[in-house]
């Protein structure tokens, strides 16, 4: 079958790989019909997460049709249209029982790497390096989905492929940031990053009853999407005084909940960016935490900061003093998709959650390397490139 493979740092190619096989009795094989680029893939492509092998298949946000089922699968049969959580979870361990699905104890076949780096291992993810299990990704004609009764969800007939595919990761991740960040009625919420995840976090905050939701980015096309589709306010960090605006728009208090949806390759104006980029290049830090610093500084006393952006290791100049003295709660997580996807599909069916506008570029899988180039360089107002195998 055809698949998009990582061939080395900043090198992608569509090649021919063996079709996936059922390996465990709870597996299904899905014929991929939509698969999406994600900003976190860029960390893999660029070598920031150095656990890739030549030939690895990328992609973790996808939707498709079930074509084969293992003998233990109860919830799915061939022909089902399913959207799949990007994280692989058993559904039976203590973490799954707490609905912290991306922390599953049994979904990563290579726990040694992340356990050594981080103390404990999160679960596995599709197409996201050997540190996350080395699972073949979704930028392919077919994909194996383990623990399918837990992680694959049948899409209602009234929800299109184009909309449902974003339940797989972007919408789940964004919703998690607002939910676990504690957004409630009356809150002022600030979201750093107007990519798909940031927009979905902002939309979740709106739907959860926040009084004001403010999204921060530098790309006007994305901020325009926020205003038109999310129903939130916007700030451009290249032209607006972000700290001052957030303080003013929250009555001098600072936002109640700050959601960071940027990640380890954050940009910012001024010398801070040059400093962080140099340290990252010299491997004196692995991640650029610009947006996390800003979120912690802006957040009101006793407020909540949720880190949705992907980080791999260590950062410099982390504002621990502000965190401690302001009494902040800081949380983060990889996405607990299984917790949110059924609810998100219901909201999609009711048109409360509209996502298809995020797919600014839809193209055949054969053009995936070009799709990633456009996506990475943010050319042609690209927000997400969607591949159709």
């Amino acid at each position: 079958m055809k698949a998009l493979q990582w061939q080395g740092i900043n090198k992608l190619a569509v090649g021919t790989v063996p079709d996936p096989e059922l390996r465990n009795p709870g597996d299904i094989i899905v014929k991929v019909t939509r698969t999406v680029t994600c900003g976190s893939d860029l960390h893999l492509i660029g070598g920031y997460i150095p656990f890739m092998e030549k030939g690895d298949v990328l992609g973790h946000e996808f939707l498709g049709e079930v074509v084969e089922v293992g003998p233990d699968v109860r919830n799915h049969r061939a022909g089902d249209r399913v959207v799949v959580s990007s994280f692989i979870s058993c559904g039976s361990c203590w973490y799954c029982d707490q609905r912290l699905f991306s922390l599953c104890d049994n979904g990563n076949t290579n726990p040694a790497i992340t356990e050594t780096m981080w103390g404990q291992a999160p679960s596995g993810c599709f197409g996201y390096s050997h540190a996350m299990g080395g699972n073949a990704g979704s930028h392919a004609e077919y994909i194996r989905v383990p623990f399918a009764d837990v992680g694959a969800f049948t899409v209602p007939d009234t929800v299109s492929d184009e909309r449902a595919v974003f339940a797989s990761d972007s919408a789940s991740t964004g919703w998690m940031g607002a939910d676990l960040g504690g957004v409630g009625p009356g809150d002022v919420v600030a979201v750093w990053g107007a990519g798909a995840v940031g927009q979905m976090a902002a939309r979740a905050a709106v739907l959860l009853g926040a009084d004001r939701v403010i999204v921060i980015d530098r790309l006007e096309n994305r901020l325009d999407q926020v205003r038109r589709h999310v129903g939130a306010e916007t700030l451009n960090y290249e032209s607006d005084d972000i700290a001052g605006e957030l303080r003013e728009r929250s009555g001098g208090r600072g936002p109640d909940v700050c959601i960071e949806a940027v990640g380890m390759e954050a940009h910012s104006p001024g010398p801070q960016f040059a400093y962080d980029q140099l340290k990252q290049q010299l491997r004196l830090q692995t991640d650029r935490p610009v947006a996390v610093r800003d979120a912690i500084h802006a957040c009101r006393k006793g407020g909540s900061v949720f880190v949705l952006g992907v980080y791999a290791g260590f950062v410099d100049k982390f504002p621990l003093g502000a965190l401690m003295n302001k009494g902040l709660t800081v949380r983060g997580a990889q996405m607990h998709g299984q917790r949110y996807i059924p609810m998100l599909l219901e909201r999609m069916a009711k048109n409360e959650l509209v996502t298809e506008y995020l797919a600014t570029h839809v193209m055949p899988l054969g053009e995936a390397p070009e799709g990633y180039r456009i996506f990475k360089e943010k050319k042609d107002d690209c927000v997400r490139a969607v591949f159709v195998p």
Binding site: A3, I9, N10, S92, N110, A112, G134
Partner: protein
């Protein structure tokens, strides 16, 4: 290619190799020092018996010391293993056995890696492949 890209192109593979080797070395370094390993399984103590633990733990259970204790807060059962002095059983074997047994008890199965493989072996891949070939044997457990 940007300057960042060039730097990463040069540094990335070495970092990957070094990280993979570090994981392996750390595991090896711990081998002589660690004789006790413990994992919490989300099953109540009343359901488990040392002699009936499933999976690869059953293959070594008569050559190690195994104890079971209720985990606090309804978190299940702590399975602790001590490798006797002089035993040929390695820390890696015990870690793998504990992880596989936990998965069997909780999920009824042990997840296998994707297959068939789509990757090719290169000099830069090999340290990482060496680590992932024993993915459940390393780590800190």
């Amino acid at each position: 290619m940007s300057r960042t890209g060039k730097v990463l192109l040069i540094a990335g593979p070495f970092v990957a190799g070094a990280a993979a080797v570090a994981v392996g070395r750390r595991a090896k370094r711990r081998t002589p020092a660690r004789h006790r390993h413990v994992v919490t399984v989300y099953r109540p103590l009343v359901e488990l018996e040392v002699t009936q633990l499933p999976g690869s733990l059953s293959e070594i259970v008569d050559r190690v010391e195994v104890s079971l204790a209720a985990a606090p807060g309804g978190r299940g059962t702590e399975i602790a293993i001590r490798i006797p002095d002089g035993s040929p059983i390695t820390d890696g074997e015990v870690r793998r056995a504990l992880r596989e047994t936990r998965s069997l008890l909780e999920a009824g199965d042990v997840l296998l890696p994707s297959g068939p493989p789509t990757t090719v072996s290169t000099p830069l891949n090999r340290p990482l492949q060496k680590v992932t070939a024993h993915g459940r044997e390393g780590g800190l457990l």
